[in-house]
């Protein structure tokens, strides 16, 4: 009796295991952080195209509109000749009543809109100048992305060059550098940044420079550590023997070896830069208004909180937190994947 096996149809269970395997592999990838960061960067880049309103121009007649899920509230008010102080909530004067119902007369009881509801026009509500919160958050993403890219570019490059030099040359160069890093770690950062920005003039350039000043030491220290290890490796010695110049060894041979570490440090530093920028904005030393930055939006919305207008400061804060959470998760994942040794550094 011949047993014919022409091919085994994958059993449903087998397919499930396969799917399960894919799911497990996917779970290890930082998908959610990457999606969040992509959304932030894309909305920053395409802000003028996708934001429903002008972020800086408000409509004073549409102030304090709640997010879309709020339904309007009505109250019964009596039409009177003149509203008394105590009767603000239960009375309405004739002139206003006529607008609602042209046939209103003194003594009538009318159903009046007391609190506007949310609408699709302002999905996340409007602030106290009648500006769309969502549009401002989208434009705020733009500011955060620019800040992150530029400070990382300037501060990172400077830090890398200094770190390479300190690690390679050692001696007094190293000593001076490391003491600078120590000093930076032991001064009240935000305070000095605040004083710098206010004194030198509150412009975008100054803010970016100040932020760059604050992040370079971390890069310098990390790169220096890497260089110290790499410079004794065989391939560097061979490059030296074959007559490569110092600059060539530093940038072509050693620098690529530090890139893994740099990616991790950069990701984690972006989170710090975003928090620092929003703190400066919050304290009034950020990008000058009316340009929307997340930090200053929170500051503006703060005064209205007691009146129950919670949305204009809550949403920008959520935007900051989500972005920084995503950066931290991605940074952790990159560290575990690219450079497990960094784990102990925290």
């Amino acid at each position: 009796m011949a047993v014919e096996i022409t091919g085994i149809a994958p059993s449903p269970a087998g397919r499930l295991t396969q799917l399960n395997g894919i799911y497990r592999k996917l779970r290890r990838l930082p998908i959610i952080p990457v999606v969040i960061l992509t959304v932030v960067v894309l909305s920053g880049l395409t802000a003028p195209l996708i934001s429903p309103h002008d972020p800086e121009k408000g409509n004073l007649q549409e102030r304090h509109i709640p997010p879309f899920w709020y339904s309007p509230e009505y109250g019964i008010k009596t039409v009177v000749d003149r509203v008394t102080i105590d009767g603000r909530l239960t009375q309405i004067d004739l002139r206003k009543a006529k607008k609602v119902d042209p046939e209103a007369e003194l003594g009538d009881k009318l159903e009046i809109l007391t609190k506007p509801g949310g609408s699709a026009r302002y999905i996340l509500g409007s602030d106290s100048l009648g500006r769309d919160v969502l549009s401002r958050i989208i434009y705020g993403a733009r500011i955060s992305v620019i800040v992150a890219v530029v400070t990382l570019g300037i501060g990172g490059t400077f830090g890398v060059v200094v770190g390479l030099a300190a690690g390679w040359y050692g001696g007094w160069v190293d000593e001076v550098l490391m003491r600078l890093v120590d000093i930076k770690l032991s001064i009240p950062l935000i305070l000095i940044a605040l004083v710098l920005v206010i004194t030198l003039g509150q412009s975008f350039g100054v803010i970016l420079t100040v932020l760059a000043i604050f992040i370079w030491p971390r890069f310098a220290r990390q790169v220096r550590g890497e260089v110290l290890q790499l410079k004794h490796s065989d391939y560097v010695a061979l490059a030296k023997i074959s007559g490569a110049s110092t600059a060539r060894i530093m940038f072509i041979h050693i620098f690529p070896g530090t890139i893994n570490t740099l990616i991790v440090v950069a990701t984690l530093q972006v989170g710090i830069v975003i928090l620092l920028e929003s703190t400066l904005s919050f304290l009034g030393a950020g990008v000058p208004p009316p340009t929307p930055a997340w930090g200053s939006m929170i500051a503006e919305g703060r005064d209205k909180l007691a009146g129950g207008i919670w949305w204009s400061s809550t949403f920008p804060g959520l935007a900051i937190m989500t972005t920084v959470v995503a950066l931290n998760l991605l940074g952790d994942w990159l560290r575990d994947t690219l450079d497990p040794r960094l784990r102990q550094m925290e």
């Binding site: 009240p188 605040l194 937190m321």
Partner: protein, 305 residues
């Protein structure tokens, strides 16, 4: 050990000096201080006399010398805004900041350390995930926003505590929790990872093999060693608590040094600002040196290095 300490102390002085240079230069860059003191009705003689009193007729390096020698004696001049010596204002405000910092630091320890231990012990379980959440929020949410949200929830909606100021004993709760959360998160992460390392070590396995109880292993063998990394971090923590007060005091209108600094800055009250910045830096470096001493005391590897 002595060499280590000497280095730290020298570094502290260098730090103070560099901050004093920065703040002095910024004070001069921002314009002639006489513009703040004098008004449109002052005469040229007033202007010159003021210059002499403030030492503005001397070269810059002498002016800096005067500034430093004044600062060493605790004399930063008179506050423009308050019209009295800067030192008086600072001494009046300092206790509030120190109290806030102390309570926040205690919260960060009381929350961070136990949660860190529990997270490490129950690795991967619900509690560990909860700990991770707390840590992630603490490290990612801007403290000023966290403060505003807490204020909205507990002061505006629930009315459990006053929203701002310093009247009742419970007005300190919200600012201290806001300030402490970040450091609780940091402590939690540090303790957790140090604890995981220690629990995996040979001597812990030996202790378990000997029959030491689980609690005994965790508290005696584990925690004692796991405390070292957070302790190193404590210097940064305590120092940064001082700066964190800048933001939190602004949010909660807490009458401390942080708010004083922000107010002085926006009022262009330079003498006051210089005084506060130097005071903050002094607190910062003092704490750093103290923690280093403590650290060396706890960890023999440093003491005998």
């Amino acid at each position: 050990m002595q060499k280590f300490l000497a280095r730290r102390i020298v570094l502290a002085f260098v730090t103070l000096l560099s901050v004093s240079v920065i703040i002095f230069i910024l004070g001069r860059v921002s314009g002639d201080p006489r513009h703040i003191y004098l008004d449109d009705y002052s005469t040229q003689e007033d202007w010159d006399r003021m210059g002499e009193v403030l030492g503005l007729d001397k070269p810059y390096w002498q002016q800096y010398g005067l500034f430093v020698s004044g600062a060493v004696r605790g004399d930063f001049g008179r506050s423009v805004k308050e019209g009295r010596p800067v030192m008086d204002v600072i001494l009046e405000r300092a206790p509030a900041t120190l109290l806030l910092g102390f309570v926040a630091f205690s919260i960060s320890l009381l929350v961070g350390v136990p949660l860190g231990i529990l997270s490490a012990v129950t690795r991967g379980a619900m509690l560990d995930r909860f700990g991770k959440m707390v840590a992630l929020i603490g490290q990612s949410a801007p403290p000023f926003w966290l403060g505003i949200m807490l204020m909205f929830l507990f002061a505006v909606k629930l009315r459990w505590v006053p929203p701002y100021g310093r009247e009742d004993w419970n007005s300190i709760l919200l600012p201290a929790i806001t300030l402490g959360w970040y450091y609780a998160a940091a402590n939690l992460r540090l303790i957790r990872s140090a604890m995981l390392d220690v629990l995996d070590s040979e001597y812990v396995k030996l202790a378990r093999a000997k029959g030491v109880s689980n609690t005994g292993v965790i508290l005696k063998h584990g925690l004692r060693n796991a405390l070292i990394p957070p302790l190193t971090f404590a210097g940064v923590t305590l120092g940064a608590l001082v700066t964190g007060s800048l933001v939190v005091e602004t949010v909660f209108a807490w009458p401390g040094l942080g708010r004083l600094a922000v107010d002085a800055l926006f009022a262009f009250d330079y003498p006051l600002l210089q005084g506060v910045v130097i005071t903050f830096t002094l607190m910062y470096v003092t704490v750093a040196v103290l923690v280093d001493v403590l650290y060396a005391y706890v960890d023999p590897r440093i003491r005998y290095a």
